[in-house]
């Protein structure tokens, strides 16, 4: 009986196929990858990174505190100020700014890709059906696995870190955009059509504003996932706090690893609370509150 069930299945060489595909891509699209690498490095290091580094730490800490205040309340502002100064006091400021630059660039690009994709998925059942498993795949695949081909394509440094971060962080942006737009009351969309509005003005004037709280929740998720990727990105030489944590692990330096970790937590709390606060400030959320108060 056992003999019968003991069938030897042929080995499926998925790994080889992927390797071949990656080889083919590196050989044939090398120019494109180089261009992407250049642009990403330019964005992260020379623009956003350089800008963050150009401002003195104390001044920037105050700016962040004001941003936190504007997005939420003075308590978050104060906590941000203390946290940022603490990062500076640990000597982690430079790396924290590198990480912030990488996170912001990756999150913005992820959202720029996620928004239209989410809109398309909300409009077409077919697009939705295709994107869903792809997003599942992107989210559940262990993140390290992206890093290997990313390094092949973009070399070691910031670029593979940003690309892997985008792939990992994008799914909730798409999902929540789709969900938000699908949740908009169908009658309101009908009202737009009934009064002869164009699909574009229905999208920008009705669907997106009404979906804004959900979309902002997506932005928040994207940023948090992007930040959670920084440690992993540190492994491929993306720099920033990730490299401190990674060095702490590989060299068993508990102190350095811990300091890097705390700095990540502080930046994470700042970004999370500030963007969550932003969501509750959207026009629609504000008008709902105003109406409830009346």
């Amino acid at each position: 009986m056992t003999r019968v069930l003991d069938i030897e299945l042929p080995r499926v060489p998925v790994g080889e196929w992927v390797e071949n595909a990656v080889d083919w891509l590196t050989d044939n699209l090398g120019g494109l990858f180089d261009a992407i690498q250049t642009v990403l490095e330019l964005l992260v290091q020379d623009w956003v990174g350089a800008a963050l580094h150009a401002v003195p730490a104390v001044v920037l800490a105050v700016v962040f505190a004001l941003v936190a205040w504007a997005c939420r309340n003075w308590k978050l502002g104060l906590a941000t100020l203390v946290g940022m100064l603490f990062i500076q006091a640990m000597g982690m400021w430079e790396h924290a700014m590198d990480t912030l630059a990488l996170t912001l660039v990756a999150a913005v690009i992820a959202m720029l890709l996620a928004l239209p994709l989410g809109v398309l998925a909300a409009r077409s059942q077919r697009v939705s059906q295709v994107t869903r498993p792809v997003l599942d795949f992107m989210q559940t695949m262990p993140v390290f696995v992206y890093l290997i081909p990313a390094v092949f394509f973009f070399g070691v440094g910031v670029a593979p870190g940003v690309v892997a971060t985008i792939v990992f962080a994008m799914p909730p942006g798409v999902r929540l955009t789709e969900l938000g737009i699908r949740q908009v009351d169908q009658e309101m969309v009908e009202a737009g059509h009934a009064f002869g509005a164009t699909p574009r003005s229905i999208l920008t004037g009705i669907q997106v504003p009404l979906a804004m709280p959900t979309i902002m929740a997506g932005v928040n998720q994207v940023i948090m996932l992007a930040l959670s990727m920084v440690v992993v990105a540190g492994m491929v030489g993306a720099g920033g706090l990730g490299s401190d944590v990674y060095a702490g692990i590989t060299r068993l330096e508990v102190g350095q690893g811990f300091e890097g970790g705390i700095a990540v937590v502080i930046v994470a709390i700042f970004l999370d609370r500030a963007t969550a606060g932003l969501g509750s400030r959207s026009t629609i959320a504000r008008s709902r509150r105003q109406a409830a108060a009346a």
Binding site: A194, G196, L210, T283, R288, Q290, A291
Partner: protein, 422 residues
Amino acid sequence: MPAIEAHRLYKVFGRRARDGVARLEAGAEPAELKKHGLTPAVIDASFTVEEGEIFVVMGLSGSGKSTLIRMVNGLLEPTSGHVEIHGDNITQAGGADLRRLRRERVSMVFQHFALFPHRTVAENAAYGLKTQGVDKAERRRRAVEALSLVGLEGWEDHLPDQLSGGMQQRVGLARALAADTDVLLMDEAFSALDPLIRRGMQDQLIELQHQLGKTILFITHDLNEAMRLGDRIAMMRAGRIVQIGTAEEILTDPANDYVAQFIQDVDRSRVLTAGSIMEPPVAVLGLEQGPRVAHRLMREHQVDELFVVDRDRRLRGVVSEDDVARAVADRHDRIEPILDTGLPSARPDTLIAELFTESAATDAPLPVVDEAGRLLGVVARVTLLNAMGQDTGVEMTAAPDVPAAPDDAGSAGRVDTKEAVR
């Protein structure tokens, strides 16, 4: 040219819906289609709505009325058939043409208001104007104007969620009015409102329609609402229009058992009017004719009273048998001395609910006169009671030349007789 013309509309949901239409046209039952995975929502619906008319489509949920109204402005594409609005084929129009037709010709009021919560009341009311490309100041001016039409001045800068349901629907109505289209589609517009507020909105709609002369296609599942608002009513059942007629026609002559059953509970006294149940007077006496003629007429027709009219058929009064007999005995030549001029009368558009008190006060039938005082017909007590009865076999025999009466009975008398008394 009619404002809206729906020509043999079919809407079948499911794959290969056109095959479903072909089957239905070949006489298949809707139930058969369901076996093939097709859902017929609207089956062979044709109707025309004249300019300035309130046309009500009445049906229970699932009867296809919401699907029907959505085909009128192209929110849904008919599987077969087409709709014309002022002669423009809206079904064949696509893209930009369809949007232009919607902007310029048809606006819509929704069951759950469909106001934009992130825009102020004024911005909501101005939405149609915005899509028309009207500039901002003008938009605001016309939105404020429309809002004051529905009694919402002073609320312009509030948000919709700050308003009560009835007020929100007024904004919905103002939005449709501000767009200044000839045709208004109202999809169960008052169904989500409390009965009292609904009643107020119905009155307001009737008043606005008088003021502005819009063509209104109104969808409802509430028969009383249909009877109150509709100049004509289309009764829908299971996707088909089973009867189109005035409230009175439907009440007095239901097309089938379904409609008959449906109208059982309607308060007839608030729908039927004097004009629709009145009968020609058996005999009238000319003012110049004397008591003798009166006496002869009474004997001939076996009546106790005679209405007296002048040369223009204006009602001058009534004479009773006793007085006539006495006048004949006393050899009087003229009728005036015995004429009772203080008699009550009704207009053709008076609801029969209002006739009871009058009718109870006198044994004589109640005369129905037009605004010039001309005698049109009479309502005997027995006729009145007959009309109230559940049996729908009330005869509609009325003077053929009844002029359209002005609507001075107020909005309650809106269900008028223009068509009913033909």
